[in-house]
């Protein structure tokens, strides 16, 4: 199948294309140089073309996500979509059901989304939900930061065994990256506690968050993984946590990036940094320290962050940071779900209302925007809402519009948020506005590159997957700074979205679900002999302390309808 998209205004940062009128040719699902005269033509005159969006950190599939749906029928009832020809129904505003999740990402022009927290024991559940999430390519990050084997091997100082275990676990769970959440803290939560900062050891295992970050950062490069360690720092949401954040950022500095696939140069991906940029000692004297965090990111080249932008919605928080969710429940008194997962991790879920009338959520809203606007280089920052934690992913168009329009932000500051946004942060003093090129960087190019997928994702050069978004907004005649509502509408409902070269969205509506999404996972074998040895150790632990049999643990191939392995080291 051939296709040509004519006359669109193209923003393709990885190929240095900044608003050029340019035709895009597609053949057999890939972008090519030219097509024959028989190619289908799509006219994109006066419209924006970008690569399909890439979400590097979201919560869309798996046990805690589904608990978020299950405990919140009142959230489901708010947003219900019926069955339509060729399309399934669904419900859920903050945590949409799987089909809706796929459709809604696609409608916004997003074609890749990564589930950021997968408990290894429950990996099969994540893959089952992926199976029912149409259109988008995806991957999941298994949780390593409170894993008994990791903590034990690191305590023994044995990085090789840690690496052998990690590569085995990535294959067993069909996982994509090393995710670290509140290292040592979630294990402490298994006894009802938490750790504070990076130097506080986990009970019994006696390794600190800092040691876990350091060890796994090294292991990550020993394995040559496409993505750097993906870190959710300690002390999330606590006033004064920015110091922990800065210390954590410094840990992997000096380690050399060694991706086998892709060409990232970063060794740390720090997620939802908005929640980690707080000064003060309590919620009264709390202030933004986003400028200090942004300054660190500006001065250092080993790090990429995502923001976790608060969208001022009623939403559902969910994280493997078990103790943090219990704290949140004691703060807002709303229903609390939790799941401690044997030998591996934990999680919690609590509904949360980020009200613009309330001082703290308004400050959080401003802190996220400060990060976006104070980090100078869009190659170091990704757009996320840590969906649904700071707000559902369906608000990305609004976040983009806030970034592109100082007027929109002024209207928010003057009319829609609490005065703490001005008092506690510097947001009102910043007038930077993102360009379309920069928007394409933080939502396409930068995430694709840091994921190690920029060969095929996040750009429109020859050889890329033909995942393409066309938006009904004309940058030559419309000004995003003043026409911000129009911009938000345009970004919410793409006029066309191509996935693997097929039109899946037209005029904001899903018209075709195409192929199942690819499931990326890392195929890495650190050291076959050593792996045999550690698998033996793992098996022994299974017999004694796990509640499932070793033979029933690994995710079977049947669960991945479009399995797409990505190489790490294979030794």
């Amino acid at each position: 199948m051939e296709h040509i998209i004519k006359n669109g205004i193209v923003y393709d940062p990885l190929n240095n294309i900044d608003g050029e009128q340019k035709d895009i040719c597609i053949k057999d699902g890939k972008i090519v140089d030219s097509v024959s005269a028989d190619a289908n033509v799509t006219d994109a005159s006066g419209q924006i073309i970008m690569p399909g969006g890439v979400d590097p950190h979201t919560h869309i599939a798996g046990a805690k996500v589904n608990v978020g749906r299950m405990i919140r029928p009142e959230d489901s009832k708010k947003d219900v979509v019926g069955r339509a020809p060729g399309q399934r129904g669904g419900s859920g505003f903050s945590v949409p059901s799987t089909f809706m999740t796929g459709y809604r990402y696609a409608q916004m022009g997003y074609t890749t989304a990564m589930e950021a927290a997968m408990p290894p024991l429950l990996a099969r559940h994540t893959h089952e939900e992926f199976h029912d999430t149409p259109i988008i390519d995806h991957a999941a990050y298994p949780l390593f930061g409170n894993n008994w084997f990791v903590m034990q091997y690191l305590k023994e100082g044995d990085l090789d065994k840690t690496a052998a275990y990690a590569s085995w676990l990535l294959r067993a769970t069909k996982g994509y990256a090393i995710k670290i959440v509140n290292p040592a803290g979630t294990e402490a939560w298994a006894w009802g506690g938490n750790v504070h900062g990076i130097d506080d050891p986990a009970p019994y295992f006696d390794v600190t968050g800092g040691e876990i970050i350091k060890g796994l950062a090294e292991v990550n490069e020993m394995l040559g993984l496409p993505h750097p360690i993906h870190l959710h720092c300690n002390d999330l949401g606590h006033p004064g946590n920015y110091e922990t954040t800065l210390k954590s950022f410094d840990i992997p500095k000096g380690i050399k990036a060694n991706p086998i696939t892709g060409n990232r140069d970063k060794v740390l991906y720090a997620t939802h940094v908005q929640f980690h940029s707080y000064g003060g000692t309590n919620w009264r004297d709390f202030v933004s320290e986003a400028p200090k965090i942004a300054d660190y990111v500006n001065k250092n080249d080993h790090i990429v962050i995502d923001v976790g932008q608060v969208t001022l919605d009623e939403t559902t928080t969910m994280t493997a940071d078990g103790p943090m969710e219990y704290d949140l429940h004691t703060l807002n008194g709303l229903k609390w779900a939790n799941c401690d997962v044997e030998l591996e991790t934990g999680s919690g879920v609590v509904p949360f209302i980020y009200s613009g009338k309330a001082p703290v959520p308004s400050s959080q809203w401003a802190i996220g925007l400060e990060l976006f606007l104070l980090v100078n280089d869009p190659e170091k920052i990704c757009l996320t809402t840590d969906s649904p934690n700071a707000g559902p992913f369906t608000r990305y168009p609004r976040v983009m519009s806030w970034l592109m329009s100082n007027k929109y932000r002024e209207d928010m500051i003057e009319n829609h948020v609490h005065k703490w946004a001005q008092k506690k942060t510097s947001i009102a003093t910043i007038d930077r506005e993102y360009s379309f090129f920069e928007i394409a960087q933080i939502s396409r190019a930068t995430p694709a590159k840091v994921l190690g997928l920029s060969d095929t994702k996040g750009h429109l050069g020859v050889g890329a997957d033909a995942d393409i978004a066309i938006y009904p907004f004309n940058p030559e005649t419309q000004d995003p700074s003043t026409d911000y509502m129009k911009l938000e509408e345009a970004l919410t409902a793409a006029s066309y979205v191509f996935k693997d070269g097929e039109i899946v969205v037209k005029d904001g509506k899903v018209v075709n679900i195409g192929l199942p999404g690819r499931c990326y996972w890392v195929n890495s074998i650190y050291d076959e002999e050593l792996e045999k040895q550690i698998v033996g150790e793992v098996e022994t632990m299974f017999k004694r302390y796990y509640s499932v049999n070793f033979a029933n643990y690994a995710v079977q191939d049947e669960y991945l309808p479009r399995s797409t392995p990505v190489d790490g080291v294979i030794l």
């Binding site: 608990v67 219900v80 059901s97 799987t98 099969r124 089952e128 509640s547």
Partner: protein, 432 residues
Amino acid sequence: MEIVKNVVCPFCGMLCDDIICKVEGDEIVGTLNACRIGHSKFVHAEGAERYKKPLIRKNGELVEVTMEEAIDKAATVLAESKRPLMYGWSCTDCDAQAVGVELAEEAKAIIDNTASVCHGPSVLALQDVGYPICTFGEVKNRADVVVYWGCNPMHAHPRNLSRLVFSRGFFRERGLADRTVIVVDPRKSDSSKLADIHLQLDYDKDYELLDAMRAVLLGNEILYDEVAGIPKETIYEAVDVLKNAKFGVLFFGMGITHSRGKHRNIDTAICLVTDLNDSAKFTLIPMRGHYNVTGFNQVCTWESGYPFCVDFATGSARYNPGETGSNDLLQNKETDGMMVVASDPGAHFPQKALERMAEIPVISIEPHRTPTTEMADIIIPPAIVGMEAEGTAYRMEGVPIRMRKVVDIGLLSDKEILERILTRVKEINASK
């Protein structure tokens, strides 16, 4: 004789996955590691008559028909009913359940599972106040306080105690000796005999006792010297044990989900567990009966947003147990056609619901002769998941495990049967 290892037991919510099956031809002739009830499921010891061919009731008599005819009849019932009900789902795999949810959407039906008559109250409660759980291994490795409230695991989940409580865990090296077991049950049972503390409360007073315990936990005096037949001092002592737990777990069963107040008992029990986390670490696990009742609630939730009792009548999912539960629909005579998959309401529903079932067309996708098939107009026998077909199931606390196929008996799986019905319903709807 062939030996198949690491087989997953398709009986109760413990979903034991260490079963060894001895196979001769297409029959399982013996098992190792399974408990008594698991074993009898594997070797068909129930002695129930097995169907191998589709049947349709004609003039009151069941007659063998082709698969095509049975599928067509079943699809016609679903497509023609104004308020079709699709019930059951707890003894089949998640892929079949997923086809079921799509079929319900297509037929604008109501889909509901057996949770409706067992842990439905737990679902309603967790929707109001949350769901703090842990996986089994956490119980085994960490729990020093284990509470069984309204359940008798020795009978209903025979390997629960041996796998999780008697056994040694990482931080509980002496097994049972390292744990305090509390049973809350109005009756004496084999499980209560094992308990360090048996709170033998009055029938139907779970909520009252929990309310008192929660008030005590928060440091309040309680109004009365005795609550639910338990003296005040004993309540204080019990709360003391709970709040000093290093890791506590509350298992709860039908004895509390179905005593007076139903979901409110679970609601306040969840809140007790939640509040215990201010001083202790505490979690809970519902003792779910059928091996994949949990899986249905998972699948139905990720596909529709709601765990059970989902009403697709208007084309969009709606949910309100009390209106959209199977018993509500049958007893209020709302439903006018019913499909039963992998369960036996004929044996478990109240008389008033059965009366309605007798009045309306009933389709049963079921391997054995049961009280439900006795009432059914169409019977389609599938292969049994976990023995004759593979697929995913979710253990009671949500751990997904792939069920194995041990023997091949050449019948369609539930999933395949449902897919054929779905295709046929689509055809009928397209021609409307």
